[in-house]
């Protein structure tokens, strides 16, 4: 059962990602990206990280994808539909990516990984306590980064 779900979600994720880089229509590419994000949320659920699954859907599907979609729609006015979507180094990029994937696989495939531990103590309460306990400083730093990003985005995008 779990394996079937894993195949399903992994397939969703990879299909979405591949379509994202392959589709020529950028709006469709963003929609494919959303499919990938939803698949990832499913994988997080399988890994018993419910909070992160919800956050994934909330932030990536609900916010990031929407922002990207907006940007695509705002900047597509003058683009020529017949213009090439890839630059002239696309084949080089493909080789690099494929080579990197081969390298990564060669590194982690032969290793002996531990099998799944029986239980986890993943609760929202636990995560909250961790975030305001041991991770309080990074947490605050992240909030400052968010504030700066907010202000920066407003200033940059302003006329």
């Amino acid at each position: 059962m779990e394996f079937v779900l894993f195949i399903l979600f992994a397939g969703m994720t990879l299909t979405g990602a591949i379509l994202m880089v392959a589709l020529h229509n950028l709006v469709r590419a963003v929609l494919a990206m959303i499919l990938g994000f939803v698949g990832l949320a499913g994988l997080y659920l399988l890994l018993e990280a419910e909070f992160l699954a919800a956050i994934q859907v909330l932030i990536y599907v609900g916010a990031v994808a929407i922002l990207v979609l907006f940007a695509v729609m705002l900047t597509q006015r003058v683009s020529d539909p017949n213009a090439p979507v890839n630059n002239n180094q696309a084949w080089l990029g493909f080789t690099v990516a494929l080579g990197f994937f081969g390298m990564l696989s060669a590194v982690f495939a032969p290793l002996k990984w531990p099998s799944l531990p029986e239980q986890s103590v993943s609760t929202v309460e636990n995560l909250g306590k961790q975030l305001i306990g041991p991770y309080a400083v990074p947490f605050e730093a992240a909030s400052v980064v968010l504030l700066v990003a907010l202000l920066g985005a407003i200033i940059l995008a302003r006329e």
């Binding site: 229509n25 709006v27 419910e50 919800a54 956050i55 859907v57 909330l58 609900g62 929407i66 929202v124």
Partner: protein, 420 residues
């Protein structure tokens, strides 16, 4: 006494009966594994939910038209069936028999996918709502976050519809919908965070149990109002219906849709309306909990309390639609960013203050010490409300002038006002 049990706990009784029947049939007779029963029960539950949602939507359209008509001194639908109750059925038949149009130049995949995707999130959010005691499809520990996350995906479908239609009004409507949704999501979530702090959990089941003594609407009246306004805005209902304003952008993102696809948009909209009232009921109005008589038990069945409260909130929303004119886009954004978000943040801060007071004295939500804490929260909320009104007083708005004239002088007065 079986009848009484059936009335008070219909889901439990029917579910138990169905489970027993299925177990007998599948596991004992056919020798199938146990999980097939669970699977069939889950599918049956989902099917039941979809059926109820459709019926609710049809009833809501009738209710809305009837109530609005009464507010506008009309009768409303009254031809099909008793009091026009069959009007939605007639409307459905009409919609299903209409021609299905795809505009030329539309992005076919996106255009046809959008109506399906728009219904999905509005149905999915009901999975974590406790309809009665122990009647909940899945009491997730991240319940509220689940609602927010799933709810936020509906904007994608709206934007897809707007973009795929290849119509500038549809695109404008879709963009407006997204801008509005993103803006109002913040006060909506922030207003509930106070309740989450009080409960100490994101699970909707536990939020309902925490309101055993006092509703959170009494603890957090300001947050309740913020939540209601923000939610009405998220459902694109009047007075926040700019994304589908008929008089401005000819109904926005679903302008090109017809027939069953339009029906799906319509369905999603009314389910969203109902979902809002359900969430307001669950989070702020005590959910399925009603008054108990000592020694006799609940006054009314749980599910009836739940429905009564939900429909009361629905009525308030219809009332708003019947009363208030549509906002302008700048007023809409100002309300979200300059009024609701700061107010929700202050509410969060004061909830923290109230909680520390409760902690210092050892007061709890689930015994009689809830009443002094309620007093503390009420004082804080009154202070907050007064402060808000003092800071944001609408003094700069031009006062509307009301002039009483006799009918014979009406023309004269009109000409003076328009200056012609």
């Amino acid at each position: 006494m079986d009848i009484l049990k059936l009335i008070y706990d219909p889901f439990g009784s029917i579910g138990e009966g169905l489970r027993g029947l299925l177990t007998q049939l599948l596991v004992q007779s056919l020798g199938l594994p146990d999980w097939t029963v669970t699977l069939i029960m889950l599918i049956a539950g989902a099917g039941f939910l979809v059926a109820v949602a459709t019926v609710t939507m049809m009833f809501l359209t009738w209710l809305e038209r009837k109530v609005i008509a009464r507010m506008q001194d009309r009768l409303g639908p009254n031809r099909a069936g008793l009091y026009g109750i069959l009007q939605p059925v007639a409307d459905m038949v009409k919609l299903f028999t209409k021609e299905d149009i795809t505009p030329s130049g539309a992005d076919r995949v996106i255009y046809n996918l959008s109506p399906m995707l728009v219904v999905l999130p509005s149905l999915l959010v009901f999975a974590v709502v406790p309809f009665a005691n122990h009647v909940i499809i899945s009491d997730l520990s991240i319940g509220f976050l689940y609602i927010v996350a799933i709810g936020s995906t509906s904007t994608i479908a709206l934007l897809m519809g707007g973009w795929g239609s290849n119509n500038k009004y549809a695109l404008l409507g879709g963009m407006r919908a997204v801008a509005q949704f993103v803006s109002y999501e913040i006060p909506q979530v922030l207003s509930v965070v106070g309740v989450l702090l009080l409960t100490g959990s994101l699970s909707l089941g536990r939020i309902v149990y925490a309101q055993n003594y006092v509703w959170f609407a009494a603890f957090q009246p300001v947050a309740f109002i913020i939540f209601l306004l923000a939610s009405v805005s998220e459902a694109n209902r009047t007075p926040f219906d700019l994304p589908e304003a008929e008089s401005e952008i000819i109904a926005g993102y679903h302008v090109e849709y017809s027939g069953i696809k339009f029906a799906l948009y319509f369905l999603a909209e009314y389910i969203n309306t109902f979902a809002i009232s359900v969430f307001a009921t669950t989070i702020f109005l005590g959910g399925w909990q009603g008054p108990y008589l000592p020694g006799w038990g609940a006054l009314l069945p749980d599910w009836l309390w739940f429905l009564l409260k939900s429909y009361a909130v629905v009525f308030v929303m219809i009332w708003m639609r019947g009363t208030l004119p549509r906002l302008r886009i700048d007023q809409l954004m100002n309300l979200a960013w300059k009024a609701l978000v700061p107010l929700a943040l202050v509410n969060l801060l004061l909830t923290g203050v109230g909680l520390s007071v409760m902690q210092v004295f050892g007061w709890k939500l689930n015994d009689f010490t809830v009443f002094p804490s309620l007093a503390v929260f009420l004082v804080l909320n009154v202070l907050m409300g007064a402060g808000f009104l003092a800071v944001f007083k609408p003094a700069h708005l031009p006062k509307r002038k009301v002039v009483l004239v006799s009918r014979s002088r009406a023309f004269e007065v009109t000409t003076t006002f328009t200056g012609r």
